[in-house]
Symmetry: C3
Subunit: 363 residues, 3 copies
């Protein structure tokens, strides 16, 4: 009876809770096994502000990815009896509205057992409009244990840091950086091929980046972090439409080259696509309080000439540049990337508020 009723009940409203392999536990488990636990590196995150991708060493990144993989491989592991962020209070301050990133951070914090106070737009801050960010930060000291800030101003994070005595995470500051997105990007690549984490690996990958390093904070932060793994990068090809001038910020390319990245540019996406292992694409660039769409000329779909096992990354939300025809293909790692962002944020947050010991295997 139950079976029959269930069929009748659902009436087109059922779904399969099973997830495709890319979301499963297999990849994070492989990554977890590939990296040896060295929790000293994670302790360096205690009470530190996260402003830029440039703050992270290769060793620290590997340990964060390992912890994220541990969370992802077994999401229920740290739910009882005492959760790692029990009694911790997050201030989720999204002065520049963003449901995607806000919910990703808030989900990470909640899963670890913490409580949250949210600010979802500037309008609801009342007279705070005329208040300095430094004063707002002084107030935050009294209210919570950690701040996640998204704001359209490039200097917002550093202004808050003047008075903060609790750690802050830059969740996107105007055109500048978005380091936790870069963590999610790199985490995805290493989940895809865990052997790339080995110090002595001979493997090298080619990465296309469809976007404007000078204007897109996600691309900026990704490139800086990727340079920490320049040993596994054969080359980075920046694909642009020739209209974004200048393509790089002053010293941006020089700094990446100095850090070991081999970078070139092209305006011909399809001619280089067959040789690329990873294709990173984005079309949103932030301009003050608004955004503009760039690179309309470039679009990926199921008929694009991908290498057989190439993966696509996209920080999402997507526009015309990424066709839904790719969603069910082997190239779709952008959904896994969005999913992984929750776990890498769990790893980072746990370490920042000094609860690292609660999630280590060996102490």
């Amino acid at each position: 009876m139950v079976g029959a009723e269930r069929a009748a009940f659902n009436g087109g409203a059922s779904f399969k809770p099973e997830r495709p392999d890319v979301y499963g536990a297999a990849h994070p488990k492989d990554l977890l096994r590939a990296i040896e636990e060295e929790h000293d590196h994670l302790l360096s995150l205690a009470n530190s502000h996260i402003v830029s991708s440039a703050q992270f060493s290769r060793r620290l990144l590997l340990q964060l990815f390992r912890l994220a993989a541990k969370f992802e491989a077994n999401p229920d592991r740290f739910t009882t009896p005492v959760k790692p962020l029990s009694d911790k209070l997050l201030i989720s301050a999204f002065y520049e509205p963003s449901t995607r990133t806000r919910l990703s951070f808030e989900s990470a914090w909640h899963r670890l057992g913490g409580d949250i106070m949210s600010i979802t737009d500037r309008q609801s801050t009342g007279i705070a409009k005329g208040e300095s960010l430094s004063d707002v930060a002084e107030m935050f000291n009294n209210y919570g244990d950690c701040v996640v800030l998204r704001d359209s101003g490039v200097n917002s994070v550093t202004e808050m840091m003047e008075t903060l005595r609790i750690p802050i995470i830059n969740a996107g500051n105007g055109v500048d950086e978005h380091p936790t997105q870069a963590l999610a990007d790199l985490y995805t690549i290493l989940k895809w091929q865990p052997d790339l984490t080995k110090d002595d690996t001979d493997k090298k990958i080619r990465i296309a980046i469809v976007g404007v390093p000078n204007r897109m904070r996600t691309v900026r932060s990704f490139l800086i972090m990727l340079a920490r793994f320049s040993n596994i990068v054969d080359e980075v090809v920046v694909v642009h439409d020739g209209k974004s001038d200048p393509l790089y910020a002053p010293d941006q390319k020089e700094s990446l080259v100095k850090d070991g990245l081999n970078i070139r540019e092209t305006t011909k996406l399809h001619s280089i696509l067959p040789e690329m292992d990873v294709v990173y694409i984005n079309s949103i660039a932030w301009v003050k309080n608004d955004f503009e769409v760039m690179g309309n000329d470039f679009a990926l779909d199921i008929n694009s000439p991908f290498k057989k096992d190439a993966i696509i990354l996209h920080p999402l939300a997507r526009g015309e540049e990424l066709c839904t025809s790719l969603d069910n293909s082997v190239h779709n790692w952008y959904f896994a990337q969005a999913r992984g962002a929750v776990f890498i944020r769990m790893a980072l947050l746990t370490c920042m508020v000094q609860r690292t010991e609660m999630v280590m295997d060996v102490i």
Copy 2:
């Protein structure tokens, strides 16, 4: 001293926490006793989407009402040591703003021990404006365990269902449906007269519906669900002002008649009122992103010619059509209806996220 100080302290600021009988434990206890527990029906709700009133069988409805009555009869029963929704995370997505329904769902979820992430309007979703609901739903999969969605679009729920792997509840989709409101409506009627739940009852009630079935989602969903109990309905009288044309959507009345409801229409409220046991009234109809008020000609007050024990239902918020002079009368079951909505949502949510066993008497 304390007594004296208390009086001094309160200074006009006191209140009586005692509630009128209609809110008390007596009615839910009677309903609880009237229905035998058959928890198999509730298991059919596990991981199912709730889109329409049409999904619910009579047996399933009775078990949901029983569980709601159990929650309402003893609100503190499931608070310790482990709450039924412990470690569960709700995404409360109200793209069409609504404090009343949002807080009703969130209160239900919190009382069961779950955590919540809220979206309170479309504006705060930033670039998500141009994002497909299917992509938003894919994101939700990674962030929570259940979605409550209110949106002005009729197709919003089904668009999200394309990619969702966690259950969703339709909390109002444009002009279409609002099934959990209908659950609250019917739950109120059965609390009022628990013997109507008996398969072999001879009792029949007459129900007036002041509203437009074609335009009001609450009326639509209520009528569909009421048809599951057509054995206790003598007749339904739809009261309209003759201006709403057509009064029904195509096939709407035919379908209800086929399901056993005896329906007629009138434009004369006061002439039928003396014979009605239940009077359901509403004046809000949704039109795209806005609403219009219908049936201004009809208004109920303490001098309306009600049957002695008739009860009034209203989905609230109310306008001119429901006078506050009725609030202290025996006809006021609309406040009990709003209160009951929290408990019926607790029942539904518990079953949807597979925690039914935690709240059963017998397993």
Copy 3:
């Protein structure tokens, strides 16, 4: 290695979690020791609405300050195993937007283990726009255990009280009152000099108030509460610019004088400053849905002729009237005041929802 990496990692992103003495445990501990526990007074708050500073007796205030000091002296004390507000649900209704006060209340509630539902602006309340506050309050009865309300309407709180059966706190009602701000103000003064709490103290302080008692709700509420401690007040000097006419509401000054306050007025801030022990300054006055800035003529900075140990209070957010050059001076007690507001609200909320026994030393 860790030390070196930490330095490398931080890269300008470090901070010192140590707090200046004014935030430390020393002052609250002194205040805690100075007041004897008499918890009967706190029991008078159970299920009472908080509308005005006038509701609080001197004895009750002392006990609230004692409990706040207990919370502040040891913030981790009541976090395990069962928190005082476990299973309690707050409705945080800020129809007039305010991040500062909203987060202060929400932080207080969360730290005590309760859950929260937030309303952050009127716009997201949908059709509730046309709903009476009395109906909204009837709805709140079903959803939570306590309401914090900020609204631009002077009568909002009393309208909600018509139907509320759960306690409400006035967190600012237009031009009228803001009693919990006054609690924070007075708590700060008594933390600064705990011996002022003694019934037999000979000490008296002089207080300058730069502001308009007739238009500023913070000043109104502070003066009423200060009158409960008129024995320690030598004089209150209201500093005004002569443009705010009338300076007082009808009977406002007469009532304060009758309660024992010695009040005079001046337009010359700098000539009285050298004799003032406490300088209370504010520049925001509420006018319907907007605010205006008053007293532009007055501004305090590090070169103002303060008495050696004088303290400055400000309800914040600040404007030009309070220079940041004072932030690192001994006069800065306004940050301690903002911090203390969380603990005094913790004390008040605990008592209102009948969890006083859980935080008492002796029962």
